[in-house]
Symmetry: D2
Subunit: 152 residues, 4 copies
């Protein structure tokens, strides 16, 4: 078990580069994801739609690593809705693989955040992706991102 525990200790790590404030474009978050059997398909690979779910986990855990939770965000009446998503699949991921997901904030506007993602297995990038999430209220109107997200 020790190997795995070590791995899990590293999970949800946040590294700061150059500028050192949270959620800035310079920050990078890493977490580990163990591929579930349910996530594979008849090709014995992770079904491609699940990568978007992995990316969402990256956003969630990046926020938590900065001391916030997306649950708090929704409890405050704000929601992040995905307006764009893309992924390039370079090598398959298989059941039980232990992947590293690297999440970066690439761009922040008044009401949206663009994240970039790298999915890594054995130090090799197997997929890259981007998403744009937009901040809306309960009625679906676009709202400014709260300062605690923008400013970190």
């Amino acid at each position: 078990m020790s190997g795995r525990s070590t791995a899990l200790n590293r999970s949800s790590r946040c590294e700061h580069t150059v500028s050192d404030h949270a959620a800035s474009p310079a920050s990078v978050h890493e977490m580990e994801i163990r591929v579930r059997y349910q996530e594979t398909d008849g090709q014995r690979r992770v079904h491609h739609a699940n990568y978007l779910t992995y990316f969402e986990m990256g956003r969630t855990e990046m926020l938590r690593a900065h001391g916030q939770t997306y649950r708090d965000f929704e409890d405050a009446g704000l929601f992040m809705v995905v307006s764009e998503a893309s992924c390039r699949y370079q090598a398959p991921a298989e059941y039980d693989d232990l992947l590293v997901l690297r999440t970066r904030v690439e761009k922040i506007t008044a009401a949206s955040i663009r994240h970039g993602y790298e999915l890594i297995r054995d130090r090799r990038i197997i997929a890259t992706g981007t998403t744009v999430v937009v901040c809306v209220d309960r009625e679906g109107r676009i709202r400014r991102l709260p300062d605690w997200i923008v400013g970190g």
Copy 2:
């Protein structure tokens, strides 16, 4: 395409037996489900958790066949929460199989409904299941089922 259209014409059929009022324990609903690639797993079979999603589709379409929708139900501030679910898997379902799901109301109490399910391929039952759903309000309190569900 004609074969498929014929099949789809039959989808969401409701047969009445013995007593002839809707949603009674005697009513049976049938619908067709085409297995999606995403629903399979590394064993090239439908992942077993998806059967519960199929059963939910059976409940939804049975209600629609009686002229109601579960969406209306939620819009009225009521929710059906699943309190029990079980499934026996007798033969695998594979990608692209065209399955028939047969849904029955087995028992109705003041606040709950027990459904029974048969999943069929080529006239052979490949799985059976049951669920119990309980009627609650927004706060999660148990509520009486509305008359239009009970009485049909």
Copy 3:
């Protein structure tokens, strides 16, 4: 039920424009998708990852409308793996919505196909997307697309 049956009769329709051979860039396929409760998330919308599953259903049914099945394709030892996917989400889809998915072949190369997608509700486009699938064999080596797919 008649309304729904009518709708389902229309499902998986294939319209030809300009040039009239199957699977050419000019062909367009349409199918209907009823949103499942399981596909929604805590925002009461279809979770964004499910759109990629819808697109996959569009590819499957487009092939079937041309008299082939993707199952036959795999039985012949060939696999379509997704190398790129993207989606722009313009308006949310909700539980029980009856959506129309329009699938187009945008480009065919020796070993890959680029599809474009429009997801429509009430004659309004709510999302657009693209995927690139690549033909590989059991060992994952890139292979030429069989003639029956390219030539239609």
Copy 4:
């Protein structure tokens, strides 16, 4: 992050009671599961089908805690197929909840294993379940469980 790391250190723990050999009915495995947004549905709860996926994770991690992996099992040409599954849902799980899944081997026969599960949040059981998995070969024929699983 320390709180979470502590939690993760405890993940995938295996406690032995009374008799002290692995995979015996007396062994209990515990792991933590963070609820993903994608796992919730329009009721803002974990969709009930996902509990079966959680249980599968429990089986996988229990095996790993005993020094084996289910991947090895499949690589040896054997498969565990689910023949029965059931769940009782007592209280909802919500997005971002940190759950504890407790997995027990309840019964082992020549070719099958019955597991029992408890899903716990804040020291309270919110769901219980059972599954029966059967050992089959590539052709789907029932096979004896290998000694390393039975004898531990």
